[in-house]
Each structure stands twice: as C-alpha cells, then as structure tokens.
C-alpha cells in the first residue's frame, strides 16, 4: 500500500485527481478493445495510472511493422509469435503488478462483444476498422457504458466521448458506414506514430476524467494533424439525435443486420468476406494503393493481390475471397487492413 501511495504520488498531487480520485481509479474497470498503436498507448497510460482492472482485447499477432508505433511490444514478441493481448499483459505487469490486467485474444464481433465489455465502467476504442466501432457503439448504448472513440491514420487523428443518453453517439454524427475501399487505413495510407500517441493519450485522460467524476469531460469532436500541428475542437450537439436508430434503442450492428459476414469455404483453404451495403470498388484506385505493398493484378471482373502471405481476390461488389487460410478472423482482419471496412 505504501508502495502504491508513492507510486501514484505525482498524480495524487494533481488537484483534478487527488486521493479520492485515485481511490476511484483503483476501483474502476476499463476495457480496451484493440491493442495496436492507440490501444498500447492507452493501456500503458491507464495501467500506470492505477486503473484497478484493465481488460485488453485483440485478435492479432505482432509483426515488425507494428513496432514503429505499438509501444508495448518488442522484437522478442515478434520472433516468439506472441499475440498482442498477451504481450501487452506481460509488459504491463512489469510496470504495475498491483492491478489486475487481463489480456484476451479474441475477435470482437456481435456474438462476443457483450461478454467482453461486461463489468466495464468505460470502453476505450483501439480498433483498426469502422465496423467494430459501430458495434462498440451499439453495445455501449445498450448497456449504458460510456465509450471513447479514437482513430489515427496518416498524420491525422480524431477522438470523441460517447456517453449514452447524454451525448450524440457515433451514428448520430455519421449515420452510415462508408463503403468498403473508400477509407484510408494505416496499412494503405501509412501512419506517423505521433498521431496515435496523441489520440491514445487524449482517450486515456478522458477515461480518467470520467472515472473520477470530473465535470469537464470533453463534449467536442477533437481532430488533430500532428504534421501541421493543427488541433481543432469541433462543436457537436449536446444531446443524442432523435433520428438516430442506435440512440432510439435499435442496435442494428449488434443484431448483426450490418457488418461483414465471413464464411470459411470448405476444402478450399479460403474464406469469403461479404460486406454490407452496395460497395462499388474502383479496381484502378485499389491497385494503385496495393502496388506499394504487394503484388497486384486486375481485370474488369476481379482484382487479385498478394500480401502478408495470403492471396486475396476482390470482386467489384466488395466481396472478397482470402486464400491460404480457413480462419475467418484472419480473413476479416486482412480485409479491414487493406480494403477497409
């Protein structure tokens, strides 16, 4: 206990937290969904700040190109093929052995999400795709748990707090998910590490503010460009939209009415990914992007590209077949990374 008073002494001196705030942090549970750049930054901040229980959920392994910005991992983790959630848990235990840290290797989908967020006081978004974010949005509203959206790509980032019943949700502001292939991802547009560092840090401090009961929790949509140094507070409505299905209790992503469907193609060592909506992929545009990162060829019917050891065949309607795996979450992950969902 003495060690912990000392451990947290510098943030207890800070008036916004104090002894009472520190005690609240110690009794809190935060679930971090996705443990890439945002997730590792947030997990590091929150574990060191003494959040009592930290659950870190991720479906991925660590690759060398993750080390540029995913601060909890090292070369041993890559060589040893350690899943991100496990590596994060191991590293953070060394930083703070006095809290509970639970790394869970799992795909977050409409079947698993409610179990994974159970008991959370705050959900922190560290995922790499929009589909899971709309799903987190539904689950957060359904269970009345605040979540903190954050995203970073290129040198840009944005973040926003969603407090069920009090603030607009992600669907209030962005009712539709963009069509597949239309959104830049870190794997196609690149990312400067400072962008997720800033956003992950802002998400962490907003989580701490919510947990200690601060009155000045952000109500803005915050955007940054770390390259130009621009920082914008965008003013959004102070209430949920009456037109928003999710805020009116219709959880369409949770009900799996939207969202990508994956099907393992029996005997072919391949998985089909079907995306919602009527995507119209531009093969010309995709091919330009894929040329930078792998081998690509296309005709008017399909586009083939090989990257990460898998061959993916894309169809103009957004459907994809990922060859070389029977694992549906691997196929979905590849699709999210390179085509975008």
């Amino acid at each position: 206990m003495q060690a912990n008073t000392d451990r947290y002494s510098r943030q207890i001196i800070f008036p916004g937290i104090g002894k009472a705030g520190q005690a609240k942090l110690g009794k809190s549970t935060v679930v971090i969904i996705g443990c890439g750049a945002l997730g590792t930054v947030a997990a590091a901040c929150l574990a060191r700040a003494g959040i009592g229980r930290l659950r870190i959920v991720d479906r991925d392994f660590i690759e060398y190109h993750n080390l540029q910005r995913q601060i909890l991992f090292d070369e041993d983790d890559v060589r040893n093929q350690i899943p991100k959630a496990v590596a994060a848990e191991r590293h953070l235990r060394k930083a703070n052995s006095s809290i509970e840290i639970e790394g869970i290797v799992a795909d977050v989908n409409y079947r698993s999400i409610e179990r994974l967020i159970a008991g959370a006081d705050v959900i922190l978004d560290g995922v790499d795709n929009l589909e899971t974010r709309y799903l987190i949005n539904d689950a957060s509203l359904k269970h009345g748990i605040p979540w903190i959206y954050g995203a970073a790509v290129s040198s840009d980032g944005m973040t926003m707090n969603i407090i069920p019943g009090k603030t607009p949700c992600i669907r209030c502001l962005f009712p539709h998910m963009p069509a597949s292939g239309r959104i830049p991802t870190c794997d196609t547009a690149g990312v400067v590490s400072s962008a997720p560092f800033v956003i992950g840090a802002l998400q962490s401090v907003e989580a701490m503010k919510m947990l200690v009961g601060a009155e000045d929790v952000s109500r803005d949509l915050i955007t940054i460009d770390v390259w130009t140094g621009a920082f914008q507070h965008l003013q959004i409505s102070d209430a949920p939209s009456p037109d928003c299905p999710a805020c009116q209790g219709k959880y369409e992503f949770l009900a799996a009415r939207f969202g990508a469907r994956t099907t393992s193609l029996c005997g072919q060592n391949a998985v089909q990914v079907v995306v919602p909506g009527d995507a119209e992929l531009s093969f010309e545009e995709l091919a330009r992007r894929f040329q930078e990162i792998g081998q690509v060829s296309y005709n008017e019917f399909m586009l083939r590209f090989a990257v990460d050891g898998y061959e993916t065949v894309l169809f103009p309607d957004g459907r994809a077949i990922v060859k070389g795996t029977n694992d549906e979450s691997v196929a979905k992950g590849l699709y999210a990374k390179y085509v975008g969902m």
């Binding site: 995922v127 944005m158 239309r182 965008l234």
Partner: protein, 91 residues
Amino acid sequence: MSVKVQIPLPLRGPTGGLSEVEARGSNIREVIDDLVASYPDIRERLFMGDEELNRFVSIFVQGQDVRLLEGLETTVKEGDLITILPLAAGG
C-alpha cells in the same frame, strides 16, 4: 463569398492532394456545389445518388456542426472555415 474548405484524407485524391481549398457560395449547399464544380471527382464521394449528401460525413462551419445551424442552408461569411469530416478508421 469565398471560404476555405478543409479536405479530409479520403477526398484528397480528387483535389490532387490539397488539404485545404477555396470555394465560393453564400451557404453550405452552394459551397459544396462550387467544390464539386472545381473537383468533379468529389461528387461521387460526397453524394448518394443525385441529391442527398452522403451520410458518412459531417460538415462544420467555423468549428460548429451544421446540424446545430441550418444544415446545408447554413449561411457562410467571407473567410469562414468549412470542415468536411468522415469518420476516421485506423488505430
């Protein structure tokens, strides 16, 4: 009325990489029309079908969501900063 329009990453293809461009108009609708006239490839990314603005972007005037104002009919002043913002992915 000449205004500055911030172009988000997914729309910078049509603007040749520019992250901020000038456009003219007295309200948001006219500004968007002018933007589309200058950069025609933006149209299919901003509109669903013929008329309706795509529902995966939010638009802000001087940092304020146009939904809090008059939507697309919101009037703009000389030099105003218009922000077009889709939800970003990436983590």
